[in-house]
């Protein structure tokens, strides 16, 4: 495959960036999207140009670092992470636009790399449970209904990639927060801090400059883990309950 790539280049946080156009030849349809960028970077290296900075770690769809805006879709046209996207999803001769996540809460560090630390700070504000460390508790001592366990597990698959924020026209991180609040709120261990959790997380979210949710649903369409919109309803319900409890 031969491709034309339009890629956002930005030397650092404080220098303005711009779109640059590159040609890559002989791309195999079996390459992953990141391997295709690796090929481009080797070409750039050979020419003595600065390679394009992008994030990746696991390259198997579980770490959540590799997010890119590809042709206007977060993680590209398939429901998966950028590292698990293959070039067979594109056509020979296609022009592909590649941009970093755009959110003022995710400043661009370089080229396609953004700082998603705002999501970590939301987790620090409330996305945890307090337990005594030491010996592991007996697994049967706190029973969890199968249905709740399954649902908690499903939403716990969120990899904090930030695609929901990137896709949201409001730049809201509600799907991400909803996933955490639903996951922990379904389990007995999550109950003691339940009210504080939702208030602290949403307050931190707002403080970081994310937008408010208007239930558009672009987040769930972009989510590589298919986290459903239900979790935002749960988030809203938990916050409403916290208001009633006087938080």
């Amino acid at each position: 495959m031969n491709l034309t790539l339009k890629i956002w280049r930005q030397p650092d946080r404080d220098t303005p960036g711009a779109m640059h156009t590159y040609e890559v030849a002989d791309v195999s349809p079996d390459m992953s999207f990141l391997e295709m960028l690796d090929v481009l970077n080797e070409q750039l290296n050979d020419k003595g140009e600065e390679p394009i900075a992008f994030d990746s770690d696991c390259r198997e769809g579980i770490c959540g670092t590799c997010g890119l805006m590809i042709n206007g879709d977060a993680h590209g046209p398939e429901v998966t992470t950028t590292c698990q996207l293959h070039m067979r999803s594109f056509k020979d001769g296609e022009t592909i636009t590649i941009e970093p996540w755009r959110s003022d809460a995710f400043p661009v560090i370089k080229d396609l790399v953004v700082d998603r630390g705002a999501l970590d700070r939301i987790v620090q504000a409330g996305g945890y449970i307090s337990v005594n460390t030491g010996s592991a508790p007996e697994a049967h001592s706190v029973p969890v209904p199968k249905e709740d366990a399954d649902r908690a597990f499903n939403v716990a698959t969120c990899i904090q990639c930030g695609a929901c924020v990137a896709a949201c026209p409001n730049g809201s991180a509600s799907l991400f927060m909803g996933a955490k609040v639903t996951h922990l709120g379904l389990l007995p261990q999550g109950q003691p801090e339940r009210d504080e959790r939702v208030v602290n997380m949403v307050a931190q979210h707002d403080h970081e400059g994310f937008g408010g949710c208007t239930n558009i649903g672009a987040c769930t369409a972009a989510c590589p883990k298919e986290i459903p919109l239900d979790v935002i309803s749960q988030l809203n319900k938990d916050l409403r309950t916290a208001i009633r409890h006087g938080h």
């Binding site: 339009k6 956002w8 779109m19 805006m69 042709n71 206007g72 879709d73 636009t97 941009e99 755009r102 959110s103 003022d104 809460a105 896709a167 026209p169 409001n170 730049g171 809201s172 509600s174 939702v198 208030v199 949403v202 307050a203 979210h205 707002d206 400059g209 994310f210 937008g211 408010g212 949710c213 208007t214 239930n215 558009i216 649903g217 672009a218 987040c219 769930t220 369409a221 972009a222 459903p228 919109l229 239900d230 935002i232 309803s233 749960q234 988030l235 809203n236 319900k237 938990d238 916050l239 409403r240 916290a242 208001i243 009633r244 006087g246 938080h247």
Partner: protein, 227 residues
Amino acid sequence: MKGARAARTTVALKLAMAVSGFVFVSFVLAHMYGNLKAFAGHDAFNEYAHHLRELGEPLLPHEGALWILRLGLILSLVVHVVTGIALWRRAARARTTKYVKKRDTGASKASLMMRWGGLTILVFLVWHLLNFTIGKVNPQGGATDDPYNLLVDTFDVWWMTLIYLVAMVALGLHLHHGVWSAAQSLGWTGTAAKRRRAKNIGFITAVVIAGGYSLVPLAVLAGIITK
């Protein structure tokens, strides 16, 4: 203050938006019932309008109950518009560098039109009040003291009917997304089945309200409702 931290969040803004939105939906349904009285003829319609002003008498003064309703609506309007603008501004600040290419995969057109559609409704609301309530403008230059005749005179003018129909399309789209969105903001849609039900109710509400309101102007224009 108790509850202050939670109440200052963007989620709480949406709660206020949802509650005020539902106040509007109830009002709009009741108002539509009144409008449809036009099909019952001159006297029935005017009697209804007159009766509204006497509601609650002698316990309440003339137009007392009407003013309580009006104050509730004005309060809801302030809440709805203020929270709407606050969320709009937040969203604008959340992404100051726009994408070169962005597709809103998974987003309905109605959901993306809430703000401009809402503003359209607001402009229409001002016009509508000038037309029938505060200003009482008769586009044919006739009398304005008879509600039924004012209505017929208004919708006999094709472009007046057109303005109202456009406004009803805007309202229908606003409700198509707004009703289900409000249910979600209130935390009532925690499963896929409940979400589907809320979306269906939103669609039905939108069709009933936009359709129901369009009947009277169209009937006047078609000569079914006459003076």
